[in-house]
């Protein structure tokens, strides 16, 4: 699945940087009905994890009240050059990953 990741390419050591992520997902709430009255089964992303050089720096539990195509923005301290890894996990075995690299001077 397509994901948009926004991480600064370069940062000074110790800077607080913002990480923004957007992934495409329907986030079907499980509370909607079709016109003929059938309940549409829930299909959401339930969990998001961000790792910085292997260490978890941010995690989120998502619920049906998160809008479709979940957007998340959060912060971290730029400690060293390396890689951010992002992982989305959801209903029906959904799993998606993305990554971004940063140079810390």
């Amino acid at each position: 699945m397509a994901a948009l990741i926004n991480v600064p390419a370069k940062a000074k050591r110790g800077d607080v940087i913002e990480i923004r992520t957007l992934t495409s997902h329907i986030m079907e709430t499980g509370f909607r009905h079709t016109v003929d009255g059938k309940l549409v089964p829930r299909d959401i992303i339930t969990s998001f994890i961000c790792r910085y050089n292997g260490a978890e720096i941010f995690r989120a539990d998502l619920f049906p009240a998160i809008a479709a195509n979940p957007y998340l923005s959060f912060f971290t301290v730029a400690k060293e050059s390396g890689k951010f890894e992002f992982e989305w996990i959801g209903d029906n075995g959904y799993s998606s990953t993305a990554s971004a690299s940063i140079t810390v001077e």
Partner: protein, 155 residues
């Protein structure tokens, strides 16, 4: 003997129970304030929740409840011994009281999280932060929603 209303209703009830009439199940379409309190207690436990330190940026009036931008920030130095452990966001009247749980740490640098949420009705949104010393702080915001999310029909 004329059938009284009471007899008719009890008869109708027994027919329904026997399955000869379609059974209509009622499901709460809204979380109640009690559900909100229950969801908060699940996170907070017995601890008391004080008001302050948390800031919730959300539009007071939204036209479309399907995507409402929201930012929660917490006043915290975010050092190794004084930081925000987690931020929890709840609502009062969606079908489910939880919106999201966000787990931070001292390496977050700034205790701020943004996302986009759904709101099914005009209601209160509550953000609670858990500090590293396990105290809880909250803020409550009122949001007026003109087009509801979550429960509309699909085409």
């Amino acid at each position: 003997m004329p059938t009284t209303r009471r007899q008719f209703l009890s008869l109708a009830g027994s027919i329904t129970a026997a399955g000869t009439l379609p059974i209509v199940t009622l499901r709460p379409l809204q979380a109640t304030p009690a559900m909100l309190n229950g969801a908060i207690r699940n996170i907070v436990g017995e601890a008391s929740v004080r008001t302050g330190r948390v800031k919730l940026d959300i539009p007071p009036l939204v036209e479309n409840g399907n995507t409402v931008p929201m930012t929660v920030s917490v006043a915290s130095p975010m050092t190794a011994d004084d930081y925000v452990k987690s931020i929890h966001v709840f609502n009062e009247k969606n079908p489910q009281p939880n919106i999201g749980n966000f787990y931070l740490g001292p390496s977050s640098g700034r205790a701020q999280v943004s996302t986009r949420i759904r709101l099914a009705d005009t209601q209160k949104v509550v953000a609670i932060a858990r500090m590293s010393d396990d105290t809880f702080w909250q803020v409550v915001a009122d949001v007026v929603v003109t087009l509801a999310a979550c429960t509309e029909e699909m085409n």
